[in-house]
């Protein structure tokens, strides 16, 4: 959250104390998180997928997406050489699945971060400033909230050129309003506490209060929201790619499904083209949701009581 490093611990200054506190709370968080089996399962799955995606350049390499150097016949079934068969160009589907994980995860992460960043900005400022500004911002939020996300994203992706950036932007710009609402509510709750009033009395400006007091307090919520948002971003990316709005030269899971559909794999029953990317999307989305729920239940005391 902050980039400063811990000073020498010769004397326990306020900085050192703060860091000690943070270390403690991380340890406490992990201790509680560890008790949630579903969360651990999700985390393990994520680590596995992340490892596969990060090491993809070493294990399969970018050649796997080359159409001119494809090893198999078009739509070849699974065999010893190609465990998941070949796509419509004769490329190795297992390799494509691994290679596609990079794009799907990257887009999911960046889109979620963008969406949560916008949501947090709008939420904190609207909760802090109130008045006219808040009314306007919240009406804009409402407008985005009632607009069907997918339709808006499709409209955006259609008018802009087809690239990864467009997809990230389209998802991020359309999915922030829930975060904004959540963060605003939390901001209002935090700002009603007495220490905010004290800070203000001591001469703390808007900037100081929002950055030093409100933001650290809404951060847990933001973190949980990001984790949950990633899974829906991955699904949205897959949906957009499946609808043919992604960059056709970039390999992603949704793009693989779209290719399969266009090649007629559905009607000809070439399951090896359809099932693996679909399962991969489902598993990663599920893993992020499990993690997100676990984080949420650890950080949000109100949810914790029910357990």
């Amino acid at each position: 959250m902050t980039t400063e490093t811990a000073p020498p611990t010769a004397q326990a200054g306020p900085r050192a104390l703060a860091w000690q506190r943070r270390r403690h709370s991380v340890a406490r968080f992990w201790k509680q998180y560890r008790t949630r089996r579903a969360g651990l399962l999700g985390l393990a799955t994520l680590v596995l997928f992340a490892l596969v995606a990060v090491t993809a350049p070493l294990t399969v390499g970018s050649d796997v997406s080359s159409v001119t150097a494809a090893p198999g016949r078009p739509l070849q079934g699974p065999s010893g050489e190609l465990p998941l068969g070949a796509d419509r160009f004769g490329r190795d589907l297992l390799g494509l699945l691994v290679w596609g994980a990079r794009v799907s995860l990257l887009v999911g992460l960046l889109a979620a971060v963008l969406s949560v960043a916008i949501g947090t900005l709008v939420g904190v400022t609207a909760g802090h400033f109130r008045g006219m500004y808040a009314t306007v911002m919240m009406r804009i939020t409402d407008w985005f909230l009632v607009m069907p996300t997918l339709v808006l994203a499709i409209a955006l992706a259609t008018v802009m050129s087809r690239s990864l950036g467009t997809v990230i932007l389209a998802i991020g710009v359309t999915s922030w309003p829930t975060t904004a609402r959540l963060v605003r509510a939390q901001t209002l709750a935090v700002e009603s506490r007495p220490y905010i009033e004290r800070a203000r009395a001591l001469g703390g400006g808007h900037r100081h209060i929002m950055l030093r007091h409100v933001l650290p307090n809404v951060m847990p919520l933001v973190l949980a929201q990001t984790t949950l948002m990633i899974s829906s971003s991955i699904l949205a990316e897959a949906t957009l790619a499946f609808l043919g709005l992604g960059d056709p030269t970039v390999v992603s899971w949704g793009g693989l499904l779209q290719d399969a559909r266009e090649a007629g794999a559905v009607s000809s029953g070439d399951w090896w083209y359809l099932v693996p990317p679909g399962v991969a999307i489902a598993v990663v989305a599920l893993a992020f949701t499990l993690c997100g729920r676990a984080v949420e239940s650890v950080l949000n005391p109100r949810l914790g009581v029910a357990r």
């Binding site: 159409v67 499709i154 030269t249 266009e262 007629g264 000809s268």
Partner: protein
């Protein structure tokens, strides 16, 4: 692209309200019976009336229903059904047969043509079709720039068109014209169309049914949804045998195939190799594969300009160099494309006109051919002065690395697949490619905002039209206008040859000139034909008993040069399939309700049983 809401996230209904089981059950049962009662008579009704509908799955959007504007295959095919032309092509071997004209005769100097118009043809509103209708149609295209958008090339050489009597049409020419027995122009009713004010705007989709004299009458149209036609019972060649013809839109190929498998549509075209293979073994489905009448080409922007000399668009300047265009095509391995993308269901591209039209088919000689040679292509680019920089990228005259925009149809899987191959092949040459896949390629295309583009036309038995779209005369008048031009090509030598072939009445001589034109076009390198895709289509044999292909031996069904396929289609005798479907629905709906009611009752009972435990 269609955006049905099938991906929307539905919210499960929170059934928190307490419902008492008996009432719920009763309500569900009432609903089920009511639904059953409304659905049950459907099969009997269907059997009693038995309206035989021929449903054709299509994907291409209609550009316009006005025959003066439409150029897309789907629209011109529909116009063939709505309006009779002066002459038709025989379905067996495409020789010219009488249409609206029963006979025709040129004067000795070949400059005056006299057509005898048949007296047994009627418009669908009961009026007689006369020579004046035809004369008016041609005159309109000659005098009104807006009416000449689609078929202006046919009348560019007309001096005067008159109708001395209701059965006599006289066309006087400025110069001899070889296409006088192949005027592919829909003749429209004068008494309806002379009310139209602006021909460049009127799309003929306001009032239905649309008055016509073809085998079918257009009765209803909803963009990207359906086109509905009724048979014209008084059609002079004989009424079609189906009771209705519907072109139904399926923007997704697999959905169309699924509809065919379920019997919702009778005919599907444009199948992929995988779909063809899957449908081959199926019961009640016949797959028809035929050499196509289309070419599939790579068009290069020659610097878009209008007839008034004004340049527009932003084509890459390096493409004006013939060596660059040749180098690009030399890096294209057409054999791999046939083998991988079309999986053998296409013929390797050579000249402009597909080999199916053997009279006009031309292929480059061995030393003229731009055969696959990446090394040669690299040499040619070096020669042209486009050398590689430190990063291995070729640099344009402006000092920036070259990246071409390749315009592709988002709805065509082949475009995207071929685009990926091109990207890699040209990438090895040091040239970058961005694939611009759009649903609507027309706007950037007409504005000249592209470098390269995927292009394809269906060729008629008489090639005049596909040749005319590359002449200077086809260019738009000003940058704001829309011309008939395909790709803004304007070459004086080509134009001279075009004029020569148009004036040549001797078929062999004309074919020779047409081949010279193809050779010229090939050398220019603005239109590089990569393949002639086969027509791959399938129909249900339990709905269509027989249908005419064109040509009769190994011919296609969809997009013929005439109305033969849909006019000749004979319905199969089977009223059982639709009845079975409806019964199935009734049973399914009933079973669903019973299950729902059961589940509801169970839940409600359970909630009541645990009522004391809760709260």
């Amino acid at each position: 692209m269609s955006t049905q809401d099938q991906h929307g996230r539905g919210h499960p209904h929170p059934a928190r309200t307490r419902l008492r089981a008996p009432r719920l059950l009763a309500a569900a049962l009432t609903l089920a019976t009511a639904l059953g009662a409304t659905l049950a008579p459907a099969p009997q009704r269907a059997a009693a009336k038995e309206k035989r509908v021929l449903t054709v799955a299509v994907a291409q959007s209609v550009d316009s229903l006005s025959p003066f504007l439409a150029t897309r295959l789907v629209s011109t095919s529909i116009h063939r059904l709505m309006y009779e032309y002066l002459t038709d092509y025989d379905p067996r071997d495409a020789h010219v047969v009488p249409g609206l004209a029963t006979a025709w005769k040129p004067s000795p100097d070949k400059l005056t043509w006299t057509y005898t118009i048949r007296s047994d043809a009627k418009w669908s509103d009961g009026r007689q079709v006369t020579a004046e209708d035809a004369a008016w149609t041609f005159r309109k295209m000659m005098t009104d720039e807006g009416a000449a958008t689609a078929n202006g090339s046919f009348v560019g050489n007309f001096a005067k068109v008159t109708a001395p009597s209701p059965t006599k049409l006289v066309i006087e020419l400025k110069k001899p014209q070889a296409t006088m027995t192949a005027l592919d122009v829909p003749i429209v009713p004068k008494h309806v169309w002379d009310k139209v004010r602006d021909f460049s705007k009127f799309n003929n989709d306001r009032s239905f049914p649309v008055v016509g004299d073809g085998p079918f009458v257009l009765t209803d149209y909803k963009p990207d949804s359906y086109v509905r036609l009724q048979p014209n019972k008084t059609f002079w060649r004989g009424a079609p045998k189906f009771d209705e013809l519907v072109f139904k839109y399926y923007k997704d190929g697999d959905a169309a195939v699924a509809a065919l498998q379920k019997g919702e549509v009778s005919f599907v075209s444009g199948l992929t190799p995988a779909q063809t293979a899957a449908l081959r073994g199926q019961k009640n489905v016949k797959v028809n594969e035929a050499p196509g009448r289309r070419f599939y080409a790579l068009a290069t922007n020659p610097g878009a300009h209008a007839r008034n000399g004004r340049r527009f668009g932003d084509g890459h300047p390096s493409l004006l160099d013939e060596r660059v265009r040749h180098a690009l095509f030399m890096a294209v391995d057409r054999r791999t494309l046939i083998d991988r993308v079309f999986q053998g269901h296409a013929v390797q591209g050579e000249g402009y006109i597909p080999p199916r039209f053997s009279t006009y088919f031309w292929k480059p000689s061995a030393d003229q051919e731009l055969s696959y040679d990446p090394a040669g292509a690299a040499r040619l680019l070096d020669e042209a002065g486009y050398r590689k920089n430190g990063d291995g990228r070729r640099v344009g005259k402006d000092g920036r690395p070259i990246t071409y925009r390749l315009l592709c149809h988002a709805t065509d899987p082949n475009d995207k697949a071929v685009g990926q191959y091109l990207k890699e092949w040209w990438g090895k040459l040091g040239i970058g490619v961005t694939l611009d896949c759009l649903d609507n390629v027309t706007d950037p295309w007409l504005a000249g905002r592209y470098d390269l583009a995927f292009d394809g036309w269906s060729v008629n038995p008489d090639p005049d039209f596909v040749l005319s779209i590359h002449t200077c005369a086809a260019l738009p008048a000003t940058p704001k206008d829309t011309g008939a031009t395909d790709n803004f090509i304007c070459d004086r030598k080509y134009d001279e040859l075009y004029a020569r072939q148009l004036a040549e009445y001797e078929p062999a001589e004309r074919a020779d000139v047409v081949k010279q034109m193809e050779s010229r076009l090939y050398d220019l390198g603005y239109m590089n034909v990569m393949a002639y895709p086969n027509a791959m289509e399938a129909y249900r044999t339990d709905q269509i008993e027989s249908i005419t292909t064109m040509p009769e031996k190994s011919g296609n069904i969809y997009g013929q040069d005439g109305y033969w396929s849909w006019w000749s289609a004979v319905p199969a005798d089977s009223g059982t399939s639709s009845g079975g479907g409806s019964t199935g629905i009734v049973i399914g709906v009933g079973a669903g309700f019973v299950a729902l009611a059961g589940a509801g009752a169970f839940l409600a009972l359970r909630r009541r049983a645990t009522a004391e435990d809760r709260e």
